[in-house]
Amino acid sequence: MATGFLGRLRDRLGKTRTALVDNVRRVLGAGIRLDDAVWEELESVLIEADLGVNTVTQILDDMRKNAREKHIDNGETLIAVLKEELTLLLSPGDHSLHLHTESGPHVTLIAGVNGSGKTTTAGKIAAKLQRDGRKVLLGAADTFRAAAAEQLTIWSERAGVDIIKHQEGADPASVAFDVTDAGISRGADNIIIDTAGRLHNKLNLMNELKKIQRVIQRRIPDAPHEVLLVLDATTGQNGLQQARVFTEALNVTGIVLTKLDGTAKGGMVVAIQKELGIPIKLIGIGEGVDDLAPFNAAEFVEALFG
């Protein structure tokens, strides 16, 4: 599956490979000596991948020390070491999804800012589980956005799973309660709850999320078992703040990084992993039902440079 992602991306982006990459190759490829131009080129690649100026400065300072100590004097070795460093940075924590429980339904709660890809991700996960022979129930706890429940309903049809939904404007916590309840009584293996997009600086909306979490716990005390924060790869430095605040409100267990099929690299997850220790678990690479893949640090780093 892993090679599938990169291969697929390469196919899609083959002709849009940028001059930037060629630049790196040109500057770093051959045994050119490490001068200011090389460091600047590296800086530009990493910053333009949204790693953020602070993170990049730290990484490159480390690399300079590294290069001195290990007597690295050519670009090729340098970039190999850098890739290794970045992969190491992204590796700590548990990057795999755990969608099984010993008994009773497993609950996945999906949250994030507006338009990041929550509903699509919920649909994709449901379809995957259904294919694996699991009994899945979707919960449409976005009762705010127009036609949000209809959107998830279409996904439930695509995935071939059941859905619990209420009227637009209903209390999202009551949807969460109902779907948890229905999951238990119907003997579902997995419950996946889609929530409304919300900006993390709106206190009342963040409290609403906490309430949803509490309500689920009333029926299943150790739920939600997975809390996925969906981040759009085109997001810049605000991603770190999103991760910080959503984690304060919920027990976020992992990040889903969507829209990696575009040209954005999603480099802000490096700071998220580094500073908050939240692992990236899944990546979204398209709008289709199969366009979801497990996160692989080495591949992700490879894509940062290509």
Binding site: I47, E48, D50, A146, G236, N238, E287
Partner: protein, 450 residues
């Protein structure tokens, strides 16, 4: 979390006060702070590079005044440059003559196009227009349904051929539908798409070619990072974009993508989205955006301080001119106009400590005010050359000035004599040990404004 930009800049420029001129070398640290601030705000790397270069060129060689913090001087330049780049305050939507105006919204997935359609419709309705919302997103599940609901909320008409139709057909048909329904504005909600998706980009080009929209608005959210330049560039290459809508500005992102978007598309930001409700759409305010990009409220006070730089700068120049007696009527006019900006003479004098005691009575004040106006009119009737070199004002020139200002030759003569006297007096005062303090005493109020 991190030091504020103010603190960083203050320390970067700490040792610079009164050091002569800003140079590439002594600005280096300060510009680096600004560079970091812009990058933290998500302004694209290359855009930042170009911008900082321009600021450096603007600032280089400027005199560092004793009275001001050079950091504030540089911030002032940065702030002004940002605003200049972002363009004029409000850019209204284009309107077609004698037929329906067509507005098309385009952009990546999940940027807020559908919601923005509803917001535009509501805004136009409030202005007395009749918008028709057109659902052309056949890809995202229930996107058309979402637009229909939004149209209902905005009290606007809605049209779509549904998700099994070709979106190009829907958009073309919408025009006759608008005519039938008596709608004067057609708003096309297109599907979100990736700029690297050739088939999808071809589709949106076909729509634009068929319906020839009067506005093509690129919708992007304020949290967008470095890649904004690439997506915007490719949309811009594919379509004749006319403007940008920046959504989700009610979040806490610094919104540097705004600058990147403007830089690559050359289009103004026409509106910003400020909330999820349909009335949360506002015209774009460049100065507010500049403040936010540089770091919120922090910078507002900084810029206010920087504003003082301008006045301090002028004051210092003025002092130097007075000392050298190269002070002329042009300078005097400027001074007078600055004073006028601050309010009436009476108000101004009251603000000066100890001044109220020696203040003339109401009538005297009014006379002085009148005299000041007359003097201004006289100077305004002079040519620039005459103001710079009052000596060339011979009899015929004076006659012309008198006629132009609605005064008499006598009054013109008096003004010139008073000015000459004042110039000499100021020169001695400024050189004298008491400095400008003595000036007050020697001012002849209220018979002369000088």
């Amino acid at each position: 979390m991190f030091e504020s930009l103010t603190q960083k800049l203050d320390s970067a420029f700490r040792n610079l006060t009164g050091q002569g001129r800003l140079t590439e070398k002594n600005m280096k640290d300060g510009l680096q702070q600004i560079r970091v601030a812009l990058l933290e705000a998500d302004v694209n790397y290359k855009v930042v590079k170009k911008f900082v270069q321009e600021v450096q060129e603007k600032a280089e060689g400027l005199e560092v005044l004793k009275a001001v913090n050079p950091g504030h001087m540089v911030v002032k330049i940065v702030h002004d440059e940002l605003i200049a780049l972002m363009g004029a305050e409000h850019r209204p939507l284009a309107r077609a003559q004698n037929k329906a105006t067509i507005i098309m919204l385009v952009g990546l997935q999940g940027q807020g196009k559908t919601t923005t359609c509803g917001k535009l419709a509501l805004m136009l309705k409030k202005k007395g227009h009749h918008p028709l919302l057109v659902g052309a997103d056949v890809y995202r599940p229930a996107a058309i349904k979402q637009l229909e609901v939004v149209a209902g909320q905005a009290g606007a008409q809605f049209f779509s051929l549904g998700e099994h139709a070709d979106p190009v057909d829907t958009c073309v048909m919408a025009q006759s539908e608008a005519q039938r329904l008596g709608c004067d504005t057609v708003i096309l909600d297109t599907a979100g798409r990736l700029h690297v998706d050739d088939a999808m980009m071809a589709e949106v080009k076909r729509i634009a070619a068929q319906v020839k929209p009067h506005e093509i608005l690129f919708v992007a959210n304020a949290m967008t990072g470095q890649d904004a330049v690439r997506s915007a560039q490719q949309f811009h290459d594919a379509l004749p974009l006319t403007g940008v809508v920046l959504t989700q500005t009610d979040g806490d992102a610094r919104g540097g993508a705004a600058l990147s978007l403007i830089e690559v598309t050359g289009c103004p930001i026409k509106f910003v989205g400020t909330g999820e409700k349909l009335d949360a759409l506002e015209p774009f305010h460049p100065s507010r955006m500049a403040d936010q990009i540089l770091g919120m409220g922090d910078i507002v006070s900084l810029v206010e301080k920087a504003q003082e730089v301008v006045d301090a700068e002028k004051a210092v120049k003025f002092q130097q001119k007075v000392k050298k007696a190269s002070w002329d009527l042009e300078d005097f006019l400027e001074q007078m106009q600055q004073v006028k900006k601050m309010g009436s003479m009476g108000d101004l004098l009251k603000k000066i400590p100890g001044m109220s005691k020696m203040m003339p009575d109401e009538q005297g004040m009014a006379d002085a005010e009148k005299e000041l106006k007359r003097t201004e009119a006289i100077i305004l009737s002079m040519t620039h050359l005459e103001r710079r070199k009052p000596k060339i004002l011979n009899a015929s020139r004076r006659r012309r000035v008198a006629a132009g200002s609605g005064t008499s030759i006598q009054q013109v003569n008096r003004t010139l004599k008073e000015f000459d006297k004042m110039k000499k007096m100021m020169k001695t005062v400024m050189k004298g040990p008491k400095g400008p303090k003595g000036l007050m005493r020697k001012m002849r109020m209220p018979s002369s404004p000088f």
